[in-house]
């Protein structure tokens, strides 16, 4: 398999001996939409910044599109939208794109046309010549995404791309990202919005305390808690005795308007329905319960001995 990003034993230790990245091995398949997840302080942004040489790595190696990440030319064909970017307020949306396009090696007519194309794609064409100072957070974010897409990069790092964007804007950005993936661009998506990652990513990795706990296809990572069948019941209120009877069938968890029953033997589902009928509880729906990415994530993090935030003090 070809990888757009590969790291081997990559480490980062900040001043004060805080180890933000412990020897870290990560592989991002080329052409995938890769979601990097982790609690605050897990080292997600440090990893992205280290890969782009914004932060200097302390050890190990990495490759971007097959090139050694320490050299400037490794960033050719790579786009980046940082979290909480602050583009110079004296620039307009167009000049921001032209400036960063120039830095990416574009110039002349090709740059001019590309800037217009990307701004139009993100519905920012009409605002292109207004100063950034007049933009809302969502508009600035769209311009940020536009500059990241200039020059048709093969790999784009997006750090919290929908942060501060309204629902319509989010939908737009998701659409653009899916389109990019469709064209074979690798998207490295860094977000704490797990539902969003679940919607657009096909590969994920979960980080905690500078380590990658798990990486792989989305469904594989979500399957970490599917060690039995889970069924969601939508019912009228349950009394204590019914609840006790259900507990004998499997693990019961509260869920809005009902509960989720996790059983090791599928026959227990029928038995549970019998229990409910016997108790006179109205059953409105019984459906397979799909584990969300958020649940898988919380499950994995809760398994860790240290659930605190931040890097590791060496």
């Amino acid at each position: 398999m070809e990888y757009a990003v590969e790291t081997e034993g990559l480490t980062k230790t900040y001043k004060g001996k805080v180890q933000a990245l412990l020897p870290l091995d990560l592989r991002v398949p080329a052409g995938s939409c890769f979601g990097l997840l982790g609690p605050n302080g897990a080292g997600k942004s440090t990893l992205v910044k280290t890969l782009l040489s914004i932060v200097r790595g302390s050890g190990g190696s990495a490759k971007l599109l097959g090139r050694d990440f320490r050299h400037a030319h490794a960033r050719k064909g790579v786009g980046y939208l940082p979290e909480g970017h602050r583009f110079p307020r004296y620039l307009t949306g167009r000049t921001v794109c032209q400036y960063f396009g120039n830095l990416a090696g574009l110039s002349g007519r090709a740059l001019h046309d590309d800037v217009q194309r990307q701004l139009d794609l993100l519905d920012m064409g009409e605002w292109a010549d207004k100063k950034i100072a007049k933009y809302s957070k969502g508009m600035a974010q769209r311009v940020g995404l536009a500059q990241a897409m200039l020059g048709d990069p093969k790999l784009i790092f997006l750090d919290e791309p929908t942060d501060g964007v309204d629902p319509l804007g989010r939908q737009k950005i998701r659409g653009v990202v899916k389109e990019l993936v469709g064209k074979g661009v690798t998207i490295f998506f860094n977000s704490h919005l797990l539902s969003e990652v679940e919607l657009i990513c096909d590969h994920v990795a979960i980080m905690h305390h500078g380590r990658v706990l798990m990486q792989g296809r989305l469904e594989d990572v979500m399957g970490v808690t599917n060690d039995g069948a889970a069924v969601r019941f939508t019912t009228s209120d349950l009394d204590a005795s019914t609840r006790a009877a259900l507990s004998a069938r499997g693990e019961v968890a509260e869920a809005g308007g009902g509960f989720v029953l996790k059983v090791s033997d599928r026959e227990m589902i029928n038995a549970a329905i019998d229990d409910l009928r016997k108790a006179g509880v109205k059953v409105y729906a019984v459906e397979p319960h799909r584990v969300t990415l958020e649940e898988a994530f919380i499950h994995l993090i809760n398994q860790q001995p240290d659930k605190g935030v931040g890097g590791v003090k060496a």
Binding site: Y14, K49, L52, S53, I54, V55, R56, A72, H73, A74, R75, K76, V78, Y80, P82, G84, H85, R86, F87, P88, Y90, L91, T95, Y99, F100, N102, L103, A104, G105, L106, S107, Q147, F157
Partner: protein, 378 residues
């Protein structure tokens, strides 16, 4: 290449947004305008064309005399008056110190109730030392007189080639160079202090560094952008001054342009210091504040120490070797202003050791600034 040009261009865009840059332009414009508007060509009582101020009702030889004084001073410096008299000056100072010591010994002996013959011995020593002091000072004066005469030949030679109006205008334009030098440097500190901290703002520097350009290109682009900006402003100011004075007074003093390289070098050194502070602290206010402190306070103090004035004034002998060390260790903007002024008047002075010191500082500050920028995490 386009990436490098983009960084340079961004520095210009950044500067025109800053009020401090507008103030710098305003300062340079004000100085240039004043030096264009105030002088006039008038006829004096002897029927000669001379330079005078607008308000002068009886124009005379004021500006010729001023030119004479300034030119003589510059020629003295050029032929190395200071260096050639330095040895004799040191000798005179040595005898003055010896005299002070002898007088102290006499006072101590008197207080201790020494016998009269011992006191007489001290008095004889004092008298002999006094004679040495007088002789050393005479030798120093003789040397200075010789050099003044030597310089006088140069001055008279030059004077013979210039009309009274040209002398007056050249003195006036020399003043313009001095004023432009300081006004532009003071303005440039304010304008340039924000260039690097602005670049290093979190959320802005990230995208720049994520592009396929090296940090060296980013650093050089930002630095060179600032210097090109200063050079353009000063070139325009000198061009305007040259043509305006030429058209108004009929004196075309092309040597004015020779001051530009020294002004640009001074600005480059100052900007390297300010950039280093800006990169280290990531604060515009700090870079500006320390830049002004260096130029206004430290540079003045260094100039006083280097000239040996503090040692002379305080009478502290140990300050003299300190002055010698300071002279070769620290750059001095007052000295560089003097060079620019001298070359504009047609007396090129180039003191190699001082230039080497300034150039070494320039390289060290640039390299140190780059080192900090290169290794930092953003």
């Amino acid at each position: 290449m386009s990436a490098f040009v983009a960084i340079v261009a961004d520095t210009w865009r950044q500067s025109v947004q800053q009020i401090v840059f507008v103030i710098m332009i305003g300062l340079v414009l004000l100085v240039t305008s004043l030096f264009i508007v105030l002088p006039q060509s008038k006829t004096d009582a002897e029927g000669r064309q001379v330079m005078a101020m607008m308000s002068d009702s009886q124009p005379g030889a004021t500006y010729e005399r001023l030119w004479d004084g300034l030119y003589t001073e510059l020629v003295n410096r050029q032929i190395g008056t200071n260096a050639r008299t330095e040895e004799k000056r040191k000798e005179a100072v040595k005898w003055e110190d010896a005299l002070r010591l002898a007088q102290k010994d006499f006072a101590d002996a008197q207080r201790a109730g020494a016998p009269p013959e011992q006191l007489d011995e001290h008095v004889r020593e004092i008298e002999a030392t006094k004679a040495e002091v007088v002789a050393a000072n005479e030798r120093l004066e003789r040397e200075r007189r010789i050099l003044r005469e030597e310089a006088g030949v140069h001055v008279e030679d030059r004077k013979a080639k210039l009309t009274p109006l040209e002398q007056g205008v050249q003195f006036w334009l020399d003043g313009a160079i001095v004023a432009l030098y300081w006004a532009s440097l003071l303005g440039f500190i304010a304008a340039g202090a924000g260039f690097f901290p602005g670049l290093l703002q979190s959320g802005s520097v990230d995208v720049v560094l994520s592009r396929p350009i090296s940090r060296l290109q980013v650093y050089a682009g930002k630095y060179i952008g600032g210097i090109i900006l200063y050079s353009i402003v000063m070139t325009v100011a000198v061009l305007v001054l040259y043509f305006a004075i030429g058209l108004r007074l009929g004196v075309w003093h092309g040597r004015l342009f020779l001051a530009l390289p020294i002004m640009v070098f001074s600005a480059a050194l100052l900007y390297a210091i300010v950039a280093l502070i800006g990169i280290r602290t990531r604060s515009t206010s700090f870079a500006m504040g320390l830049g002004y402190f260096f130029l206004v306070v430290v540079d003045w103090a260094l100039a006083l120490i280097q000239a040996g004035a503090l040692a002379e004034f305080s009478g502290l002998a140990w300050l003299r070797p300190v002055a010698d060390v300071v002279r070769v260790v620290f750059p001095n903007f007052r000295t560089m202003q003097f060079w620019s002024s001298a070359v504009a008047l047609g007396v090129p002075i180039f003191e190699w050791p001082l230039f080497v010191t300034a150039f070494a500082w320039f390289l060290i500050c640039l390299a140190w600034g780059y080192h900090l920028f290169h290794k930092a995490d953003y």
